[in-house]
Amino acid sequence: MTTVETKIQSNKAIASGSVVNDFSISVATMNGSGSQTSNLTLLRALFKMGIPVSGKNLFPSNIQGLPTWYTIRVSKDGYLARTETIEVMVAMNATTFAKDQAALVPGGVFFYADDIKQAITRKDIVAYPMPVKKLAKESDAPASLRTYVANMVYVGVLVQMLGINPQRIEQALDFHFKGKEKPIKLNLDIIKKAAEWAEENLQKSDPYYLEDLDLTEGQIMASGNTAGALGSIYGGVQFVSWYPITPASSLAESCIEYLPMLRTDPETGKNTYAVVQAEDELAAIGMAVGAGWGGLRSMTSTSGPGISLMTEYASMAYYAETPVVIWNVQRMGPSTGLPTRTSQGDINLTYYLGHGDTKHIVLLPGSVNECFELGWKAFDLAERFQTPVFLLSDLDMGMNQWMTSPFKYPDKEIDRGKVLWEEDFEGLEIWGRYLDIDGDGIPYRTLPGNRHSQSGYFARGTGHDEFANYTEDPDVWVKGMDRLLLKFEHARSVMPQPEIVKRKGATIGVIAFGSTDPAIREAIDYMSEEDLEVDYLRLRALPVVDEVRDFIRKYEHVYVVEMNRDGQLHQILSLEVPERATHLISLTHNDGLPLTATWIKGAILGEERN
């Protein structure tokens, strides 16, 4: 295999005043220009160099032609949130050339494709031209692949100029192309040529360097959607129905990718699962509810617009007590909103989805690893409580690659809940589908296919008594709804506990959930540097457990930080602890971009020092 030999070693003597492993790179390209492989190669190479790194694709809702940015943050301190500053810009897009230049910090670096004939106007940055077109043309790549390999030119230049370990680049390409020699060689060749060109023609005069570290040992890199799919597979998912929608599609697509490997019966070669691409979300949830009622571990995945279409069946599943797992990978609404931008705007919608008195179990994974963990746990909860269980992720967590701790094999046996089969009817004194025998609000269910003559019942969304018979009796209705509430309160007690991070001398608290976690943690460090110590509670589920109420009662101010306009979680928590409502302060930011520590710190300090 070809190896990239760069002379970057000559730069080993890093001058004082240099910035090592602590900056953000932004790659400005055009959507559909094939830069994804290049960006992922960079990200993975840095990860393998042992540098904590995160990559975020900030892309428009478009297939080809609109500007898109890929930002990579390297942080020796392990911070993975988005930053507001960009130190290194790779300018491949003529239409945003001026804007990209303006975005750099003073002293920043500007790598640009030299076919863009626009002026470098800033005097306080270092600019390096890159002969992108020329090198692509000189490469062995067939004409059809030329624009694609052109993106490898900037990879090569960055390898040389920032000091990326070339072996790691090779490793990344090997992974990306699944060991296929031809594409690996093609890409490596052009990276090598570009690195050589940079070595001969560019004089390093900027302070930014990358160096091997050992801080990513034992970590993996994955997206939340891949993790969610794998979690579901380990949770024993048997039925997946879905309808494509950004940013949820890759969750179902990952199920399709990994199910054959993990869930083909080794003895019989048969599938222990089924996946159906439905005609819309109404049908996707209909199928999932049908399968859940039939006794399969079933799930569907969608985003806000799909969730609204699923409302009627979610309501019915709540009332007819049918288990089903529903992923909501949130994007920015209302309506189509900003379909490729992230948000946490569906928490209210999801928690109360339905008509009448509905409320649901909502799991809130705060990391890619947790998408896996809560992904499998969701099925146990859905079947135990015979109800829909939602998982709320978002575009940032779902679609971007994150470094995360490895997936852990489930540490609990599968819990199928209260199900009666033929033999269970022997000696059974009384059974009604909705009869609460144990006093926990959870009745016993039977599944179609049970051949015992007493096992069948007619499920319905209409009023029913304990024996599943139709009734409109007011007392029976009230009793039934009260039992559902009892069941919900019972579920509350076994919800995943929040994660609480305490600091000595903390006087205020912060509550957040989901993908904002890295930004919150970073902000807490920064506030500590300014002598404000903050305790942090990361919510992992609704309904909230007692620990959350206790946390809220503990501090003079508790800030609820979330990515929506109206402070939806803040509203929910205010109802949970009404007597502390005036001490709960809502901090929201919702512009479609992942939260930054700078914003959080500014917002909290602003309030506290006011």
């Binding site: 990860f47 890199m221 994955a222 891949t226 380990y234 024993g236 048997q238 039925f239 129905s241 993990l262 869930r263 019966d265 019989t268 070669g269 048969k270 599938n271 222990t272 699962y273 089924a274 439905a278 005609e279 819309d280 109404l282 049908a283 949830i285 209909g286 199928m287 509810v289 049908g290 399968a291 009622w293 039939g294 006794g295 399969l296 079933s298 069946y313 019915m316 007819a320 490895p406 997936f407 094999y409 489930p410 599968i414 199928r416 039977t446 599944l447 179609p448 296919g449 049970n450 051949r451 003559s453 096992s455 069948g456 019942y457 007619f458 499920a459 319905r460 969304g461 209409t462 139709y470």
Partner: protein
């Protein structure tokens, strides 16, 4: 005495009452009641174990029907227009079960048109009855999408729109079994139901089922009178179960036979014209012709026994998915390292 008792049970020792449901709450004389009793009789006569059937329905008077038949069977009364998706998911749980779905013209052709089309495309093995009365019975007699143009209904004026023909939709939607019948012709309904229960794939039965309360005027196309005066059966249809090796002595050229997957047969005795229900290309002409002549064509309109059914494409295990033990649905412990290694 003993022989008398025996005559009241079928081959699996069940009596008719084992196939009944709760007493009907539909209006007296409603066509749906008549269909329901034929479902009961067909299943009884075919010796089907009620627990081998799963019932599905949407919302409407017609969709209430599954309450009134096969009380021992599992069933799910789903959402208005969304029954097909529910049935699709549920039948994956145990593909040895037979689905019987009951819907209305509003449930299937108005709000449910999309799911109706897609369940046909997937060829879900299920009997799909549409009890078609040209109105929304349950919401008190509004026009449905199958109501004929110009139909006048009390309190609702005149229907200004053209009707949708369920049979056309089913044929164009590539359903593999398409039949029309009339609730006032119980024998034909029963024989068609039996044939449909043997079909491996979606079996769409459009059954004109008069709503005696809102749309039974003699000149209304979904009334008893209209049905009686305008019904033209394509053939005299009888279903021959596998066990009965009956020699039917029809004259050569007088009858046609369709072999079903389970070994049973449908015998179609020629009535007036020659009609071949396996030839899709002529159906629309035939229907259009009947429309002009104001004929209500009934019988087996189309059948395709070759097309693979939904579950045939899924490589599912022998035993039902909903009976797989935990160790078969969770990957083994040693796989997790491999998975993590795949995550770079």
């Amino acid at each position: 005495m003993a022989t008398k008792k025996q005559s009241k049970i079928n081959l699996i020792n069940l009596s008719k009452s084992d196939y009944r449901g709760a007493p009907t709450t539909l209006c007296q004389g409603c066509g749906h009641n008549s269909i329901n009793s034929q479902v009961i009789t067909a299943c009884y006569e075919l010796n089907i174990l009620p627990e081998d059937i799963v019932k599905f329905s949407g919302i409407g008077c017609s969709s209430k029907s599954p309450t009134y038949f096969l009380g021992r069977s599992f069933g799910f009364n789903g959402l208005h227009g969304r029954m097909p998706s529910l049935a699709t998911g549920a039948l994956f749980a145990d593909t040895s079960l037979t689905g019987i779905a009951m819907s209305g013209d509003g449930d299937t052709i108005s709000i449910g048109m999309g799911q109706f089309k897609h369940v046909m495309r997937r060829n879900l093995p299920m009997v799909y009855i549409v009890a078609n009365n040209g109105v929304y019975g349950l919401t008190k007699g509004q026009f449905s999408a199958t109501a004929e143009e110009g139909l006048a209904l009390k309190g609702h004026g005149q229907n200004p729109y053209m009707p949708i023909d369920i049979i056309w939709e089913a044929v164009v939607g590539r359903a593999t079994f398409v039949a029309r019948s009339f609730a006032g012709d119980p024998k034909q309904v029963r024989e068609l139901l039996k044939a449909a229960l043997s079909h491996r794939g979606i079996a769409v039965l459009d059954i004109i089922s008069p709503c005696v309360t809102f749309n039974n005027q003699d000149d209304a196309h979904h009334s008893y009178a209209w049905g009686r005066n305008h019904e033209v059966a394509l053939h005299d249809l009888s279903y021959v179960p596998l066990a009965e090796d009956i020699m039917v002595d029809y004259d050569e050229g007088e009858s046609k036979e369709v072999d079903m997957h389970d070994g049973s047969r449908i015998m179609l005795r020629k009535v007036a014209s020659d009609y071949d229900p396996t030839d899709r290309s002529t159906i629309l002409c035939m229907l259009e012709d009947a429309n002009t002549k104001q004929e209500l064509i009934t019988g087996l309109i189309y059948i395709d026994t070759e097309q693979q059914a939904l579950f045939d494409t899924y490589n599912l295990p022998e035993e039902p998915l909903n009976r797989l033990t935990n160790d078969r649905i969770r990957p083994r412990r040693e796989t997790i390292d491999k998975v993590n290694a795949m995550m770079f």
